[in-house]
């Protein structure tokens, strides 16, 4: 199917335009690599600095596994990771147990003043812990909850609940009423509808809340610092921060510890990136 008439010559020869495009793309690629280098810088620092002994670090030459080998004696890292894990797991469980029914209630089971109460809970998202730090600390201490993990777990749960209620309510609003009604006609009560219909449907939202809260709580310092009295129950982030602030621990050891502490959150993040993005833009993304 060839035409005899030659194609009309474009103003800029096609190959030159293509080349300009290729050059543009190449430059773009280089810029992106540059940004990647900046964003990977923390990991590079952690890795390189952790692979030195204290002397090597001070002199700036040489590598060794010394700080890794002595890591467990420098920082009680295993016990701290266990603490962090327990605190994260229990807090998230509590947030889900409290947030799921509430989100369902605000989205589908309107009751008297539910709109106002919902707004109040959502507003609590904006209250920084520091604003209520003193009364909170005194309350928790007076209740004797700073001994174990209870106090910290409660505070994390309270801080995480408003967002999870908001996210679940937003999610459930997208679920058609008929689905719940079909369950009611099929013989479910509201509790049954919640656990057998609503929760299974909400798996993506649950994943979002879990991932966001995991990173939040795992990475947090303030609550763990103040609401856990026993040093033997410290989560890893607090352990690192306290050692760092003390300025007596060797930097390579700190960096090795940092790397260990960063790993779980990074893995969770890389696997569940999708849910993280969804959660961040919930409400305005459509």
């Amino acid at each position: 199917m060839s035409l005899d008439t030659p194609p009309v010559a474009p103003e800029v020869p096609a190959d030159r335009r293509a080349r300009a495009r290729r050059v543009g793309r190449g430059a773009l690629f280089l810029v992106m690599i540059g940004v990647a280098v900046v964003m990977l810088y923390p990991f590079w620092v952690m890795i390189v600095d952790s692979l030195k002994s204290e002397n090597q670090f001070l002199s700036g030459h040489g590598f060794s596994w010394a700080s890794w080998r002595t890591l467990t004696s420098t920082i009680p890292i295993a016990q701290e990771v266990v603490s962090s894990t327990i605190i994260c797991a229990v807090s998230i469980l509590l947030i889900l147990l409290v947030g799921l029914p509430a989100g369902f209630a605000f989205a589908k089971l309107r009751f008297r003043a539910s709109g106002v109460i919902f707004l109040a809970i959502v507003s609590a998202m904006m209250v920084p812990l520091q604003a209520i730090l003193m009364p909170e600390f005194v309350n928790i201490t007076r209740l004797g909850l700073t001994g174990g993990y209870t106090g910290a777990v409660l505070v994390y749960a309270a801080l995480g609940t408003p967002f999870s209620v908001f996210l679940f309510a937003t999610y459930f609003r997208g679920v058609p009423d008929e689905l719940i009604e079909a369950g009611i006609v099929d013989g479910l009560g509201y509790v049954g509808a919640l656990w057998r219909l609503v929760v299974p449907i909400a798996i993506p939202a649950i994943a979002t809340v879990t991932v966001l809260q995991f990173i939040q709580i795992w990475d947090d310092l303030l609550v763990g610092l103040l609401f856990i009295q026993n040093t033997s129950e410290r989560p890893i982030t607090v352990g690192l921060a306290v050692l760092a602030a003390g300025r007596t621990t060797s930097i390579p050891a700190l960096m090795a510890g940092s790397l260990v502490s960063a790993l779980p959150a990074m893995i969770v993040y890389l696997i569940f990136q999708r849910y993280l993005v969804k959660g961040l833009t919930m409400g305005i993304d459509r």
């Binding site: 058609p176 008929e178 689905l179 009604e181 079909a182 369950g183 009611i184 006609v185 099929d186 013989g187 479910l188 009560g189 049954g192 219909l197 299974p200 449907i201 798996i203």
Partner: protein, 388 residues
């Protein structure tokens, strides 16, 4: 299986909106009852009250002789098919269908047996392990039906179950649902806004408007003897021609003035109709498109001089839009959903495809006097003798 009775059932929503007004309706055991009407007519609310999803403001509602006003949905033993199917997305087809039975505590084997039976009726056998997401629209619709069937309930409640399907599938499922209902013989209340579904599926059809029941009758009766102007205009496509007219003296006794033409109505005082005797009373004349014939100018009876304004060839037939009276004056058609009167006077006639009719032709048409309808000019009710 059971009969269903609405007795003076009323629903008033917050803000004093009356959605259903004093509804009296009896659905016999095994009957297929279609509730039809324009959106907002209260048909869905009536169905939801029957399901127990909406509370009843006044009146009594009974299923199988048991008053169910305050019975919770799960204890009413009715199954509902929703417009959007409301399939549980996290369950397979089999789980969806067996869910109600499982809640009821039936044994696993029993549930499985009933699901297989229902699946066979609906030809869903090979899809039992799929999730709703992996089904086509028609298949989902069948699963929704299946969920209702397995329960062998006292009644099926269906809320516009076909409105989300494309046209071809809708025709198919219309037949299918009617077949299954007859096979199972379960009393069914079927809500739709589609008068074709109403005509083709129902044993009887209840027409609603503005929360009030207009007429309940078998489809053909509804078509041939509408109780009022609204029913006349709602059932049938294209709808019945409704023409404003005034009584006026005529050779045959009484006639009608339509525009500036006079129409003789020999059958006006026949067995069923009873036009007002005084002169100048306002009535609405109704005539179906198939009851208009082109005739010569010398024919007696109800004839009108018209002009062809538009011609729609549908293949099997032609719809001819005619303007009545001073057949030169331009006239516009305004179809008012609420009043269902076309004005100024336009008529739609259904003709055979071979009819030689062109736009601009002036035609004499004769209305089939046996099949004329007369409605009160203000209240819209059919004018008939003795309320027959």
């Amino acid at each position: 299986m059971a009969e269903i009775t609405f007795h003076g059932v009323t629903k008033v929503f917050a803000g004093n909106v009356t959605a259903v007004d004093n509804l009296d309706l009896h659905v016999a055991d095994g009957e297929f009852m279609v509730l039809v009407g324009p959106s907002g007519c209260g048909k869905t609310t009536a169905l939801r009250m029957l399901a127990g999803l909406e509370e009843i403001s006044a009146g009594t509602l009974s299923i199988g002789g048991r008053v169910v006003n305050h019975v919770l949905p799960k204890d009413r033993d009715v199954a509902m098919v929703f417009q959007n199917y409301a399939l549980y997305p996290h369950m397979t087809v089999a789980q969806n269908m067996g869910f109600a039975l499982k809640i009821r505590g039936e044994s696993k084997a029993e549930v499985e047996r009933k699901v297989r039976e229902a699946a066979a009726i609906l030809r869903l056998g090979e899809y039992l392990d799929r999730r709703p997401r992996a089904l086509s629209g028609g298949q989902r619709q069948r699963v929704a039906m299946g969920r209702a069937i397995v329960r062998s309930p006292q009644a099926f409640l269906m809320d516009e179950p076909l409105s989300n399907l494309d046209a071809q599938l809708r025709v198919e499922m219309r037949v299918e649902i009617a077949r299954i209902q007859r096979l199972l013989g379960v009393a069914t209340v079927y809500v739709t806004h589609d008068q074709i579904e109403a005509m083709t599926m129902g044993d009887r059809v209840a027409v609603m408007r503005g929360g009030q029941l207009q007429q309940v009758a078998p489809p053909q009766v509804l078509y041939d003897h509408p109780a009022n102007e609204f029913v006349a205009g709602f059932m049938g496509s294209p709808p019945m021609n409704l023409v404003r007219a005034r009584t006026s003296p005529s050779r045959g006794g009484v006639g009608l003035a339509v525009g500036d033409q006079r129409l003789d109505v020999p059958g006006a005082y026949g067995a069923s109709h009873d036009l007002p005797r005084e002169e100048g009373a306002e009535v609405v004349l109704g005539v179906r498109p198939e009851d208009i014939d082109v005739v010569g100018s010398d024919v007696s009876g109800p004839t009108l001089k018209t002009r062809v304004e538009r011609r729609e060839a549908l293949g099997a037939e032609i719809l001819v839009h005619l303007s009545v009276a001073d057949a030169g004056a331009a006239s516009s058609v305004a179809y008012d959903e609420d009043v269902a009167v076309s004005r100024p006077t336009m008529l739609v006639a259904r003709m055979a495809p071979q009819a030689r009719v062109e736009v601009g032709d002036v035609l004499m048409v004769r209305l089939n006097e046996e099949r004329l309808h007369f409605f009160d000019g203000t209240r819209g009710v059919t004018l008939r003798r003795g309320g027959a």
